[in-house]
Symmetry: C2
Amino acid sequence: MAVPVWSVDPRTGKQRGQAAVEAGTAEVDAAVRAAAGALPALADRGSRARLLRESARLLEEHADEVVAAADAETALGSPRLTGELARTAFQLRTFADEVEDGGFLDVVIDHADPAATPIPRPDLRRYKVPLGVVAVYAASNFPLAFSVPGGDTASALAAGCPVVVKAHPDHPATSELCAGLLRRAAETAGLPAGTVGLVHGFDAGLDLVRHPLVAAAGFTGSVRGGRALYDAAAARPHPIPFHGELGSVNPVVVTAAAAAERAEQIGTGLAGSFTLGTGQFCTKPGLVLVPAGPDGDRLVAAVTGAAGQAPAGVLLDTRMRDAFLKGAAERSALPGVDTPLAPDAGDGLTVRPGYVTASAAELAAPGALDPLLEECFGPLTVIVRYDGAAELAAVLDRVPGSLTATAHLGEREAAAPGGSAAGLLARLAGLAGRVLVNGWPTGVAVTGAQHHGGPYPATTSTSTSVGATAVERWLRPVAYQDTPPALLPAELRDDNPLGLPRRVDGVRG
Amino acid sequence: MAVPVWSVDPRTGKQRGQAAVEAGTAEVDAAVRAAAGALPALADRGSRARLLRESARLLEEHADEVVAAADAETALGSPRLTGELARTAFQLRTFADEVEDGGFLDVVIDHADPAATPIPRPDLRRYKVPLGVVAVYAASNFPLAFSVPGGDTASALAAGCPVVVKAHPDHPATSELCAGLLRRAAETAGLPAGTVGLVHGFDAGLDLVRHPLVAAAGFTGSVRGGRALYDAAAARPHPIPFHGELGSVNPVVVTAAAAAERAEQIGTGLAGSFTLGTGQFCTKPGLVLVPAGPDGDRLVAAVTGAAGQAPAGVLLDTRMRDAFLKGAAERSALPGVDTPLAPDAGDGLTVRPGYVTASAAELAAPGALDPLLEECFGPLTVIVRYDGAAELAAVLDRVPGSLTATAHLGEREAAAPGGSAAGLLARLAGLAGRVLVNGWPTGVAVTGAQHHGGPYPATTSTSTSVGATAVERWLRPVAYQDTPPALLPAELRDDNPLGLPRRVDGVRG
């Protein structure tokens, strides 16, 4: 019996209508088999680039419809979603560029060397091939950029891997709409509709990661959900790579010099960053180390001023709202924790942002304050006051792996090579995959040098889910030894008919 | 109470003397902490290159002693071990070259672009940093090249990661000797002795993969042992990458044309490859598809002739010998399986090579013959006779992931682009990480284009354990955003003081 999937308005908590039905084991199997059937057609890089560009074009052509659908299901608002759509289209085109560049194929050619020592060397030519069907687990907080048409899908298609997306239950109608656009793009590119599959339902997600024809998975979501899927992927008879982005507190360190120079500016910036999008970013600054003393006091007062004026907002669903209010209350109730600005319930289903404060001396050792080191999804941050370098270091030793780590430095610190600021950045680089100076981690640029990942639980692998190198997750190398020229893949021929970047006998070109 | 670790002579099965003691939890912890303490010193790439080159030099300087120790514990013989030592030294120097080249740091620099669409872009610079302490699980069959001074160790040190090796119980004295040489090399390079740790004992291996400060693991060995460690790595509170090479049947396909042209040559070559080193290579051809009919019969007869004259050999230990004889007998006893040349016990503790034959029609579906699709470590191969393309395809559909897959082609097939041979190679590329034409998979060149890995159970990840790209396993990316020039790591500065290959604003140079 088909289980309905409802589209829900987070502003009212009411069902808007049925968006889809949950996929049973048979439907998941059918979607995966259809995707596997699309694998040969995706071998053509030109078709992949066309698919990605046409997907971007169709998203933009249907922007009004897509933004309206996403806003109705997420309450993120038209301006934010219009920006997210532009980012998503840009991301699709970025991966089309990467497909055409072909650098990710990592072509390495070593010609035979009968005179090599210690033994003669055969002709060996290596490149990368698609892994197979990729399962994509969509995020709640980005109904476009980390969902059906998002970075996991775009990078997997760029790699030549068909995808089956497990829709997030917070936006099933948006997911159906976007999947339809991607399938139209596939048709235009001459690719099978099975290139992009979509399934709904919790059990469907588990069926998907366990399916023998699924070769890898990408996930963005909670530690609990991501870990359960990671465990299922690792427990398969044939384990598969599971690239999950799970949770991150994104520590921020404000030095004494920075606080002395720019207390109000930093406090206001922090308030803007942790309340942005009602605090529903994986890169939200969730643990902020502020010096004890008057400069830090001014900074904290500025947070209160700015965050106190931030508008109340609707979270993505009522379950998240309940979890946020419970998490905020639990943190406020911890011994020694103060709540200068209480995050709490606003009108209707809204919540108001807030923060708590604690002392670094108490957080420096395991104990009652440990929940402050866990992510709380929503507009809450934890400000930890530290007194001197030793307390700062002790807290940093306890911060879990994060997507980002930020330093706010004084002017002279920022200009002094080899000083304490350099040491601080090195320490932060040990905690996170992206280190920022004098900025805020919300906002993740889609570019070649981006890295959106970090030590567990930030991600379950060493890869990135944003930026050009995200494509590397869906490939595996194959080397051809002593293969006659007539039978070599075009990518590996001496005459380089595809014009690929490559390394030949050690020389890059 | 210290549990002794004995060095055993596989030619007699007798203890030669005590080589070491098993490491308890405290000793494993001490080795890992010492290794973690060496991490900062290894940040200097010059020191790493010196360590690798000096390790190679010391191995060569002590070649007689090392080869004698390894031969006494493995019975692999001086010529083979002398070659393995040369290969190991070459491998260490290859990674020193890679360290100096620095391409593996994958430097990508994207300058800020305030005019970028859809939104302004910050300055982002990415490179790769060492993961931390690497656990290396040494193999039985390569006491040097896949053991203490082997590829996992060399690539981890090249990446800047200290290692703790879990010695293989088949060659504890050789392991101690080599670890001593590497520690001397570390001292010469100005690095702490903890850079290379060594522990013995089954429980120590489990303690190691579970240690919180161990950041990744490399393994070469059996499916059972590797999977147990993989599962332990995945079940950690903070899972870590586990790069295991577990098992491989290394399919070989002989086409009808190849058999018609070179039956005797191929049969003799096969016998040489599967009996080499008494069949103890992870790339041993273990499943050979030979056409039915007279040409195939000639090929099989040539195998009998050549393998029947191959000398009896001693396996690495008596447990392996028992497992080999049991595995060979079990395969021979399967319904419909013939044993033209029985692998069996020779004089003393030796075994004699042999092979069994089966029909593709019977192996094409799950059933009693399934054990033929599993690796049998030692000088045994399985010859499967196929009648036509459909039977060949049906068996290939059942072949598990392998390190290598080989095609023997006729002269015209090898010269015809887009024909059936191209289709066959594409199919083989789906099964393995290295595809060979008209060659034998034993022998794995250490070079940039090598890939020694393949779909599970060949390896537990998409990485290689041989060749220059093996270093990629031990790194993770870190991106710096809007970081003042004075605080950037030297690798990421605009003036490129280290002369690294990099991609700047999309342009490689």
